[in-house]
Amino acid sequence: MFFQLIVSGISFGSLYALVALAMVIIYKTSEVPNFGQGEMSMLSTFVAYTLLVTHGHSFAVSFIGALLFAAILGIFLEFVFLRRAKDPNILSLILITLGFQMILYGLASWKWGADQRDLPFPVSDFDVINLGPAVISYLNIATLLITLILMLLLFVFFKYTKIGVAMKATQQNAMAARINGIRTNRILSITWAMSSAIGAVAGILLAPIATLDPNLMLDPLLKGFAAAVLGGMTTLVGAALGGYMLGVIENLFGGYISLEFKSVVAFGIIVLVLCFKPSGLFAKHYVRKV
């Protein structure tokens, strides 16, 4: 059973890792934990559903369409809500994200209602592969692979492309970025588009396991946030590792101690991390010399 718990923990963990990555990417540039992230990916998942089921498009068209929608939604939200705030502090920025979270939630409830739906997915959750003592479903494998590929792409993007390095530069020192000719506003837009699209991937991968309704991302968002805090809000690698760790810990807790309190683990972890290592487990930051 131990092995099985770890395997499914990892597979759930990759969803948390995606949400955590999405949050960290925005946190690093806009310096705000984006509490609207969950609703952004929920809405994008609904768009995938509509394209797929209501309009009968193929999987590829629907999913790519949903990702595009997510990217545009991210750019739109940043441009319309966050950029308007003049000299904002962190609290008002958080309030803004909570604000559009509610707007998006309302929008989804109004358009699609509270019915629970099933998002079809090309890979089945019921066909499994035996891995010695544990089994893993095709869907879990797909989730794991897609997450790993995305992380690899992100790594390459931030390490080897000019725009990726410019993004890191903007995160570290926006003024210095501007005097080197980097259009920081454009970088912000790209950041939000990327983050929103990653969140949408998480939503689409989650929907076949869970049920698609406006509450789809409520729980995963908080878990993803916990994962990001656990790994350190400022490092992408840390956030991803935090996601996997959280998935496994939570599953082991559910398996051996108490299934009812499984969801509480994430919040216990947030509290513990904030008490003992507030910058996160994997935050490796250069400390400014005074």
Partner: protein, 256 residues
């Protein structure tokens, strides 16, 4: 005339920082702006670079005959103006190489960029040794070199230097100023803001003295070095000793 500033006035919310400043920078020269803390030296550079929102409040700035006041720094940099900010402001968690690469962000000519890397490593050999290191791990002097190198990667027609000597040892200051002189001789025009009047006047062609947001003196650097007031107030020289070995009176500034 490369840069022409006419009568600019700048506010920091309610603080009247620049009270009508005019300045021209001729091509090929080093122009030095001297002044005490809070005189407004850096504010001039920040205003010209467009880093202060909605400033200058009044006045015009022309760069190569085109108005640039009210434009964003991203646009101004693309016209050929580079800025080395006060306190270096390197990207601390990017490598030295990536920092320099960001300096060339607006350029597309890869071959020429590679050549410029060599040129900058020629000016500052220590940067080549530190190429893969995070900029935040460099010493203050190395960070200053990196900041200057990064600004040069943009191949500027006019280079702004804001207090390159800040927090550096005298030997390093000398080294950096020699390189500034070399950079100028190889074709870049330089506008320098400094508190270290002695070094600045030694390498510059024209010197200006700023007090309380106004220029109070302008002249050839060679003549300013000889000026009694400048010596007394900016270079820390005592003009006369009294018989008892200390000075009991204060020299009056003639320009007030």
């Amino acid at each position: 005339m490369l840069l022409e500033i006419k009568n600019i006035e700048t506010f920091y919310t309610l603080i009247y920082a620049l009270r009508g400043v005019s300045l021209t920078v001729e091509e090929g020269t080093i122009t030095a702006i001297l002044g005490n803390n809070g005189a407004g030296k850096s504010t001039i550079l920040k205003t010209v670079m467009g880093l202060l929102d909605d400033q200058p409040d009044k006045g015009t700035i022309e760069f190569m005959g085109k108005r640039i006041d009210g434009k964003d720094p991203e646009v101004i940099v693309r016209m050929g103006l580079s800025y080395v900010p006060e306190g270096r402001e390197v990207f601390e968690e990017l490598s030295v190489r990536e920092n320099l690469l960001m300096g060339a962000y607006i350029r597309r000519d890869r071959a020429a960029i590679r050549k410029d890397f060599e040129q900058i490593y020629g000016y500052f050999p220590v940067l080549r040794e530190r190429e893969g290191q995070w900029a935040g791990t460099l010493s203050g002097g190395e960070q200053q070199m990196l900041a200057i190198g990064r600004a040069l990667m943009n191949r500027p027609k006019l280079l702004f230097l804001d207090e390159p000597s800040l927090g550096l040892s005298p030997i390093l200051v000398k080294e950096i100023f020699e390189i500034i002189k070399t950079i100028n001789q190889e074709g870049a025009t330089i506008l320098l803001v400094e508190q270290n009047a002695r070094m600045a006047l030694a390498i510059s062609d024209i010197g200006l003295i700023l007090e309380n947001g106004r220029f109070v003196m302008k002249g050839k650097s060679k003549e300013l070095i000889e000026d009694k007031d400048v010596q007394e107030f900016y270079m820390g020289m005592r003009s006369e000793e009294s018989a008892k070995g200390y000075q009991r009176w204060k020299r009056k500034k003639r320009w007030r």
